[in-house]
Chain length 225, copies 2
């Protein structure tokens, strides 16, 4: 068996009938040849379904908003990259020479995509129960320790959901002011909801924090809190 095959059996508990599926799942586009993007497309959909079903079963009293936020937190790139790191997946991925040097976000998305591709590969090589078993193994700890609703609340997300629920377009965020020296800056961001002809401002030590603050004020203003 190949080294990747041994790794897969040890870490994912799955032995491939057709090792081509495994090789493809571990090949990033930058390596040239047959890469993992189509498998990632399929794996992403299987993961979304399996996690939705697991949450629907595990939380019979939870409303749709809570289930959706939980699902988003479990299938987002950051979480997938953490799971991939626990498996030392990075060492198995075939990359082009340019990508080998890149770090940060690129690396996180490469790991997340490869993990989704592995789910797709197990589904095609095996069947849905095999893919579900892999997802169950990956998410066992997280599904047993689901965060409470408050911990999932993010003002920008809540604002967007609230506006969508009212049939309105998403808000605009605009950076209005950056003050202070480098690495000690304060940002001021405006949040606008044109359809409601109103705006709020948020300040913070990062663009993200300023936006979340502006979204929080908007929620208070339009009655979403």
């Amino acid at each position: 068996m190949t080294e990747a095959g041994l790794w897969c059996e040890r870490e994912l508990g799955y032995r491939f009938e057709n090792p081509d599926f495994l090789a493809r799942a571990l090949t990033h586009r930058s390596a040239g040849g047959k890469h993992n993007e189509r498998l990632e497309f399929l794996g992403d959909a299987i993961l979304g379904f399996a996690i939705a079903e697991a949450l629907h079963q595990a939380l019979p009293e939870a409303d749709e908003g809570h289930l959706s936020r939980l699902r988003a937190s479990l299938v987002r790139g950051e979480t997938l990259a953490e799971l991939a790191n626990d498996l030392s997946l990075g060492q198995q991925i075939k990359l082009g020479s340019g990508e080998l040097k890149s770090g940060g976000f690129r690396r996180e998305s490469i790991l997340a995509d490869a993990l989704e591709a592995l789910i797709g590969a197990v589904y095609l090589d095996g069947d849905l129960p095999a893919a579900r078993a892999l997802i169950q193994r990956l998410y066992e700890g997280r599904l047993k320790n689901l965060p409470p609703p408050e911990q999932l609340k993010d003002p920008k997300t809540r604002l967007q959901e609230l506006l969508q629920g009212r049939g309105l377009p998403t808000p605009d965020y605009e950076m209005e002011l950056v003050e202070g020296e480098k690495h000690k800056q304060t940002f001021t961001v405006a949040c606008r909801v044109p359809a409601l002809d109103t705006h709020t401002r948020g300040r913070g030590s990062s663009r993200r924090r300023a936006e979340q603050g502006a979204a929080r004020k908007m929620l208070a203003e339009i009655g979403g809190d």
Copy 2:
């Protein structure tokens, strides 16, 4: 059998073992009591998976971007509402009195959500093959006549994907100017990509058209076209 049960058998080709699932799938939140939002959450995930799998099989040469755009076009609210209209689903939905009077977008999303809830209900009442058979029946015509890649290209989507691929935040769109009389207005929208310190402008007879124009120019400017 209830009237809804007869409708379901005739239009969806499915007979419920447990009619409570059907009743719940057809009950909008506004009607009070047990409503269809949790079923919608589950049905949305099943639909996403089934369509991804169907596209992956039907188009063995298509790249991930094309598959993703096709999937998005097939599962978006507008498409679901069209499918629901073909089934006269609206007449079967139980709504609260307030919602009965609302039109337009609200109605579209109520239809789309109820159709997803029906998929979830068939899955829980039956099994995955039953839900897949329903999805196959609903999408048969559309899966046989998939639009070509060009027809799916939407500048805003392409710009967002390009920026995400480069690890950058999504662009901001801001309405700058509205000219002309009511019903004959021209909109001017700015598209900003703060991380690249650049902006473009688009004009059009609707906000959407102006945004798409601005996104098209931004794609040209940053080398995405």
